[in-house]
């Protein structure tokens, strides 16, 4: 049954992608069965290697083997809806002769980590040359020595990274990672149904989200940082810098709304389906997802603030095609290529110059604040505080307990 579920996951994803083509479709579906088994069999030892240093490299076969194994999130690449081809990826293959095995098998940071953790800790290759992980997970990989240093000399376009993201706490100077896309944790809602229930078709505050008239029609994300960030900001605390008491205060508020039935479920990507079917009226969701649903749905940052996160590309230990991975990062940091991706995925592009390039790619999107957010929009969003491993675990436990696990 385990293998069936994993296959089922793929099948399911292929099916859903053709109609929804968005990221994180199966995040919450709990498809980690294989990972569970792997974890059960493997992680029993304590090998003691814990110092943060660059990951070991393997002999680079890039010049001999024109291939690249890339693992990333679902629906994170421009795709031709009719043929299913991926234009910017095909362009890369055409230019360089490198064939990319593009696998959308990262549905959840923790789940993906659980799947490859045993190999990483035992110093074995994970058979991937490039992976895409959210900030905090990328930080964990760097700190554990699971990321290789990038050779910037062959990636001149890397200099195009926007100043705000050019250096981050977990990777000063971006030695190990480059951002793929960023996005907001924010409100999404069904305009018609919201109007029917609370008399307005715009959702601006968390107070409105918790309006009793919406009881049972609200979902929030199972990603702790987005849900808790928005709740803490609503309580007047700073999600970028908070105390344990403040976090627990947020947990209490969340639990109250779950216990009284106001929040009907806590979901990964499945909230998109529930919004389309009308079961759910208002959500805490992700910007690109909600925008993709179309004009019947509203999207906005809460007035008390939303969250801002970035998914990052990094090269895992012992990758056999490191140079190819660096070349493709360079490719995607070309402003025009970045603009094409952003036009499709509707997330924030980290590439300087993409806004200029968007004028030719899709003029209608040049001033789109969800792809090219203004300073004001960015000011209304918080990057979640960096947590130590112990804090992360303690907060995860509190969060999972509140959401029934």
């Amino acid at each position: 049954m385990t293998e069936n579920r994993d296959l089922a996951a793929r099948e399911m994803f292929e099916l859903v992608r053709s109609s929804l083509s968005r990221r994180r479709i199966l995040q919450a579906a709990g498809l980690g069965s294989v990972a569970v088994v792997a974890a059960a069999c493997g992680a029993s030892g304590d090998d003691g290697s814990s110092t943060a240093s660059a990951a070991p490299s393997a002999e680079d076969l890039s010049d001999a083997e024109k291939t690249l194994l890339w693992s990333t999130w679902p629906g994170y690449m421009d795709t031709d809806e009719k043929s299913g081809s991926r234009p910017t990826l095909d362009a890369f293959t055409k230019q360089t002769g490198i064939n990319v095995t593009y696998t959308e098998d990262v549905n959840d940071n923790n789940e993906f980590y659980a799947k490859v953790r045993t190999q990483l800790e035992q110093g074995q290759p994970i058979d991937r040359d490039l992976v895409v992980l959210t900030d905090w997970m990328a930080a964990l990989w760097i700190n554990s020595g699971f990321a290789q240093k990038l050779d910037k000399s062959i990636m001149p376009n890397a200099a195009n990274v926007i100043p705000k993201l050019a250096s981050v706490a977990f990777d000063p100077g971006r030695e190990y990672t480059l951002p793929w896309q960023s996005g907001f944790g924010l409100f999404g809602w069904n305009k018609a149904k919201l109007k029917e229930l609370i008399g307005t078709d715009t959702l601006t505050s968390v107070d409105q989200l918790f309006n009793p008239a919406l009881k049972g029609r609200v979902t929030v994300l199972s990603e702790m940082r987005d849900t808790m960030g928005i709740i803490m900001a609503w309580q007047g605390n700073d999600p970028s810098n908070f105390t344990e008491d403040q976090f627990m205060q947020g947990i209490d508020a969340l639990r109250a709304q779950i216990d009284n039935g106001h929040i009907r479920s806590v979901e990964g990507n499945s909230y998109m389906g529930d919004m389309q079917s009308g079961n759910v009226v208002a959500v805490i969701g992700w910007s690109g997802d909600v925008i993709q649903l179309g004009s019947d749905f509203g999207v906005a940052l809460p007035e008390s603030g939303g969250t801002l996160w970035t998914d990052n590309m990094l090269i895992p230990p012992l990758a056999e095609h490191k140079k190819n991975a660096e070349l493709i990062m360079n490719h995607y940091y070309d402003p025009e290529v970045a603009a094409k991706v952003a036009a499709y995925v509707q997330y924030i592009t980290p590439v300087q110059g993409a806004q200029e390039a968007m004028k030719t790619v899709d003029p209608a999107l040049v001033d789109n604040e969800w792809i090219f957010p203004t300073a004001q929009t960015l000011d209304r969003s918080y990057v979640f505080m960096e947590l130590t491993a112990e804090q992360d675990l303690a907060y995860q436990r509190a969060f999972q307990k509140a959401i029934g696990n």
């Binding site: 399911m12 498809l31 974890a39 059960a40 029993s44 304590d46 049972g216 039935g261 479920s265 999972q400």
Partner: protein, 298 residues
């Protein structure tokens, strides 16, 4: 009512001459036993050892060898509500599946005539689609604006005004997903009944109800036991239905085990929960089989 062969039984290895093939039987058993050892016993042992591990003092977040029985006590103290809920939901799903499957299996076995093959195929056919897809389909079937929900709502039968993301949806999903595992053993059991026994009952002036309770039901007991076990055991450990159809208040033990493995990377607690679940199911199953008097099954 002894000589009814249980559904899942394998044809006995037939030994024609005295002691002729005993050695070759053992040789033939080796691949099977090796398979069991490698893919069942060793992982089971690893799981058990993991469930007793303690956290490393030098490197928090990792676990080292230990005999820490308190893992079990802590896990059960923390997660007994989900444990209890798993058994309640799985029990309800089993009873519902039996209620739905018995008439259907009875019909296929005795009344379907030329249609019986087709009906059996129809019972099995949904299993060709993936488990996940079928569960997703229930989100559509039970949607808030769907026919089922609005009909029940107009009769004021739903306390929350909806089915999806409630315990009702989880039990419905479990019932549906494991229904074929109930129907097939029941059918096999009913199909083996010598119809002349039922006719004899009628000939002796028993009412149809009496014939059913005195003849058909007891003779189908092995199918009932096999079916309930095949439904209850996977349902108790399932986490997909609770995840997709339930709310935060409907989580089952499978969800908790998954969260401990993947989110917390707390392998000892997750292993202890898995082991406790296995033990609890084994105890229940043994008690059940003893009570129902069909020891031939084990």
């Amino acid at each position: 009512m002894a000589p009814i062969v249980p559904v899942a039984s394998v044809a006995p290895v037939h030994v024609s001459g005295p002691k002729r093939s005993s050695r070759s039987v053992y040789i033939l058993l080796i691949p099977g036993l090796a398979w069991l050892a490698v893919f069942f016993l060793i992982p089971l042992f690893t799981l058990f050892m993991t469930s007793l591990q303690k956290e490393s003092a030098s490197k928090p977040g990792t676990y080292v060898f230990g005999i820490q029985l308190s893992n079990y006590a802590n896990a059960l103290a923390e997660y007994w509500p989900q444990f209890l809920r798993s058994f309640v939901y799985a029990g309800l799903a089993t009873i519902l599946a039996l209620a739905i499957a018995y008439p259907l299996a009875y019909f296929i076995a005795f009344k379907a005539g030329n249609w019986r093959s087709l009906m059996l195929v129809l019972v099995v056919a949904p299993a060709f689609a993936s488990f996940l897809l079928r569960t997703y389909a229930w989100k559509t079937i039970l949607a808030d604006d769907g026919v089922v929900t609005s009909t029940l709502n107009s009769l004021h039968l739903l306390p929350d005004g909806r089915i999806l993301n409630t315990g009702i949806a989880v039990v419905a999903g479990l019932t549906y997903n494991f229904l074929p595992f109930m129907i097939l053993p029941l059918f096999a059991s009913l199909d083996r009944i010598d119809y002349r026994l039922i006719e004899a009952g009628s000939d002796l002036y028993a009412s149809p109800a009496k014939v059913f309770w005195r003849v058909t039901w007891p003779l189908s007991m092995p199918g009932i036991v096999a079916g309930t076990l095949l439904t209850f055991i996977p349902a108790a450990g399932d986490f997909i239905n609770a995840e997709l159809l339930g709310s935060a208040k409907d989580r089952m033990i499978g969800n908790v085990i998954q969260t401990n493995f993947i989110e917390f990377r707390d392998y000892p607690t997750a292993s202890a929960l898995s082991f406790a679940l296995m033990a609890a199911i084994l105890i229940l199953v043994f008690g059940y089989i003893r009570r129902s008097g069909t020891e031939d099954l084990v």
